[in-house]
């Protein structure tokens, strides 16, 4: 049962990961799968920029361009950014609150496998007759009009991975509410944990509308329903509402954990407590709350009327306030600190001006009447890439360097890390800054080409050159990963030397039970407080005793796999394929069957005995 790290064969390691319920290993699974999809989405982005580098280009055809553009957005949001964020949440959050795992380790594994199979299914469109081509927003009239199975892949793939995400959100919420270490009050939780908490709440309330929207779309496309068929009484605006009631909180689902990672980074490398901790928490909760009140600003040109537009415009502007609070708090965390510019700190530092640009264009977009000009142009494209790349992707890269030692036990090379940063940073601004102007000069978004003579040529060329810089940066990051993995120089508990929170008080990577004895938390930045008193580790909050751990299981994998099988049946049932219905039933039976097995087979987990813990004296709480 135990997973004491010894050299294992490939087969054993694979089986270990297929059956794991350990949050740290699931984090690595999320990290690998999310990283893979990030590369796929990145290649799609490069194709987009090659196609748009010059006017009237025919690098790809119009239809294929729409598929690439749709899949770039869908992949980056659902299959790259979210899983990578989930990777950090899984890797760090339980450690930060002093827990031995998440509340539902088994469900955690289901969440991952559902995301994984959903993502794989979504991408199978490329090989089975065409990928989705109606944009990541998949607006109803175009999506129901779209021929072939492309949009079906979108609908079913997202449905499966969406369930996984929803369960992940519930899991994190229950973990944070129930499993904090003794002394870890809510107002002592590290900010990354706080943002995980709020993000999970957003997931819980934002994903069901998407689920319903996807169901309606699925029923329309595959089972003859009439939700979006205007001639039959349907209404396509319902999709827009459902999608954006999900879609806008989704933006905060992505950016809040990014804020969390940056908050940790600023505090660590400034050697200073986060400035205005309580107002940061307040701002996080407020952003999460307001995030549900503003969805219609994506529909300003929809004809909802001036009253709705005015209300949503003002509500949207209001979000600027808590976000501004955060920016100043970060700046003043560094103010008076002792700032060390490590690679993670490079990203965090560069994040501030980049995100401020994205933030202010956000406020400009909130101004409804002016938005009629920005809406669906490259100005919007520039805006959301400034917040999502300048915010989320910077945070993911920052977190990758920051938490790499905690996840893998070794440090990424700092020199290569900084080279990656500079290339990425320059490429990012080169690509997207000019796009604000392209939009204002009259270039709509999602166009597969543009005609010469409209003053758009130079701007697009510059943008494409920038994309090449980012591509090189990612390649260097990959190189860095390979080099450090081969070298594999092990590091201690607190490799950055300035760790403040509990995750830095345990070994890198931590033992599978995380804490031999649960730590006693005596304030914000618990580990830092102990270090300042000259101690090397946390004070235990309980005597050494047996530790209860969950069993590994292959069932999560099989459950998700069953849905993956059923998905083919659901999709091809439209073409009257005789095998479609049986396949659907078999797939669902596999899933329901494994649920039944899970339900009737008792699983009490196992105990690690006190004696075994004493043998491993260099692991756990004591450093």
């Amino acid at each position: 049962m135990s997973t004491y790290t010894q050299k294992k064969g490939f087969g054993a390691t694979l089986w270990d990961y297929l059956t794991t319920v350990d949050h740290k290993k699931i984090a690595i699974l999320y990290f690998i799968a999310g990283g893979f999809f990030f590369l796929v989405g990145g290649i799609e982005a490069i194709f987009i920029r090659i196609q748009l580098a010059v006017p009237n280009n025919d690098f790809v055809s119009a239809g294929v361009y729409n598929e690439i553009m749709t899949m770039h957005g869908t992949t980056m949001i659902f299959l790259a950014a979210m899983p990578l964020i989930f990777a950090f949440m899984n890797a760090v959050m339980p450690l930060q609150i002093g827990a031995r795992d998440v509340a539902f380790p088994f469900v955690n594994a289901i969440s991952f496998w559902m995301f994984f199979f959903g993502g794989v299914f979504l991408n199978l469109g490329w090989f089975l007759g065409g990928a989705p081509d109606a944009g990541w927003t998949n607006y109803a009239s175009l999506a129901t009009h779209s021929k072939g199975h492309g949009v079906d892949f979108y609908v079913i793939g997202l449905q499966i991975s969406g369930f996984g995400t929803l369960m992940g959100g519930i899991n994190f919420l229950a973990t944070i509410i129930n499993m904090r270490a003794p002394g870890m009050t809510y107002m002592r939780m590290p900010l990354f944990t706080w943002t995980t908490f709020v993000t999970s709440a957003l997931i819980l309330f934002a994903f069901p509308p998407l689920t319903v929207g996807l169901f309606l779309m699925m029923f329309d496309r595959m089972f003859g329903a009439k939700f979006f068929e205007v001639a039959m009484g349907g209404n396509t605006v319902i999709w827009e509402h459902l999608f954006w009631i999900f879609g806008h909180p989704e933006v905060y689902i992505l950016i809040l954990p990014a804020f969390g990672i940056f908050s940790e980074t600023f505090a660590i490398f400034s050697r200073k407590r986060l400035f205005g901790y309580s107002s940061m928490v307040f701002a996080t909760v407020l952003i999460g709350f307001l995030g549900f009140m503003v969805w219609a600003h994506h529909m300003f040109t929809d004809g909802l009327g001036p009253v709705a537009n005015a209300i949503f415009a003002v509500a949207t502007m209001a979000i600027g306030v808590p976000t501004g609070i955060k920016i100043f708090n970060w700046l003043f965390t560094m103010w008076g600190g002792s700032v060390k510019f490590t690679t993670p700190m490079h990203y965090a530092f560069a994040f501030i001006p980049s995100f401020v640009i994205g933030g202010v264009t956000g406020v400009m977009l909130a101004s409804a009447a002016a938005d009629y000009q920005y809406h669906d142009t490259y100005f919007v494209v520039a805006h959301f890439h400034y917040v999502i790349v300048g915010g989320v992707v910077f945070a993911l890269l920052c977190g990758t360097h920051l938490y790499w030692p905690k996840m893998f036990g070794t440090m990424l090379n700092e020199t290569l890390g900084k080279i990656t940063f500079w290339l990425f940073f320059i490429g990012f601004h080169l690509t997207f800054f000019i796009q604000h102007f392209l939009g204002l000069w009259g270039m709509p978004r999602r166009v597969f080409t543009y005609l010469p003579g409209q003053g758009l040529n130079n701007g697009n060329l510059i943008s494409s050159i920038g994309a090449a810089f980012m591509a090189v940066a990612v390649l260097i990051l990959l190189l860095n990963v390979i080099i450090t993995s081969v070298k594999n120089e092990k590091v201690g508990n607190d490799p950055w030397g300035d760790g403040r929170t509990l995750e830095w008080s345990v070994s890198s990577p931590p033992p599978f039970y995380n804490f031999k004895q649960l730590p006693l938390v005596r304030g914000l930045d618990a580990y830092w407080l102990e270090k300042m008193e000259g101690k090397t580790g946390m004070t235990p909050a309980e005597p050494l005793g047996d530790i209860h751990m969950p069993n590994s299981s292959i069932l999560p994998f099989i459950m998700a796999f069953g849905l993956f099988i059923a998905a083919f049946g659901v999709m091809y049932h439209v073409n009257d394929k005789p095998w479609a219905l049986p396949v659907m039933i078999i797939g669902l039976l596999i899933t329901l069957g494994s649920m039944l097995i899970r339900s009737v087979k008792d699983d009490h987990g196992f105990h690690i005995h006190k004696e075994d813990l004493i043998d491993n004296n260099n692991k756990g709480v004591k450093a």
Partner: protein, 208 residues
């Protein structure tokens, strides 16, 4: 307290559904899940309200031509009663009265099955009146909302029966008590959803 421990009436804890960390998590996690379910049904309700009576031509059946109160009234009574019987079951669970608990859960399942039967009867009736899933946006929205609820009831039935069969021979312990409790939470939830369906779909449908 250990999940596998054997209990007697005297040692049985006051809140068996949350006396271990695992069951506390389960209890909380399930409440959170119901929060998500609430939003799911809210979205379905909103869709239904937007598409109510939206049919391609005026000769097709509208809400006020279709619905008949007596039938849905019976269904409502069946489901509301089943909620009450599940309360009894949980009352006995807390008192460590395993047999009585099983009896009341059995009655709950029976009433649930009755509800489901009346719903199936109702749907077939509408289909004969040319109000189908594919006949109009109204039809799609109606069957999706009510059908989602029906699907939840059906799943609940399977869940209840699985729990009863699995634990028929071994009595209560701290491992299965939370499972029964969580099921009853679920059952109450679908009951509450039905109250809203009854109001929004049927009563408001009658008014026109």
């Amino acid at each position: 307290m250990q999940a596998e421990e054997k209990f007697t009436y005297e040692t049985w804890p006051a809140e068996p559904e949350r006396s271990t960390l695992e069951s506390k998590n389960k209890f909380l996690g399930f409440w959170l899940f119901l929060g998500g379910e609430t939003v799911l049904f809210a979205s379905l309700f909103a869709t239904y309200i937007a598409l109510k009576d939206k049919v391609p031509n005026p000769s097709m059946p509208h809400a006020k031509d279709l619905f008949e109160l007596p039938l849905t009234f019976v269904a409502t009574i069946l489901l509301l009663t089943s909620s009450l019987t599940s309360v009894y079951a949980i009352y006995h669970m807390k008192n460590f009265a395993f047999k009585k608990m099983m009896l009341w859960f059995g009655i709950t399942a029976l009433l649930g099955a009755g509800f489901l039967a009346s719903e199936i009867y109702e749907f077939t009736k509408y289909v004969h009146e040319h109000h189908t899933f594919t006949s109009s946006a109204f039809g799609s929205a109606f069957y999706t909302l009510v059908g989602f609820h029906g699907g939840h009831v059906a799943f609940g039935l399977l869940w209840c029966l699985t729990l009863m069969i699995r634990n028929a021979k071994r009595g209560l312990n701290l491992y299965n008590a939370p499972k029964f409790y969580v099921f009853s939470l679920y059952w109450h939830f679908i009951d509450v959803v039905w109250v809203f369906i009854f109001t929004v779909v049927y009563l408001m449908g009658m008014v026109g």
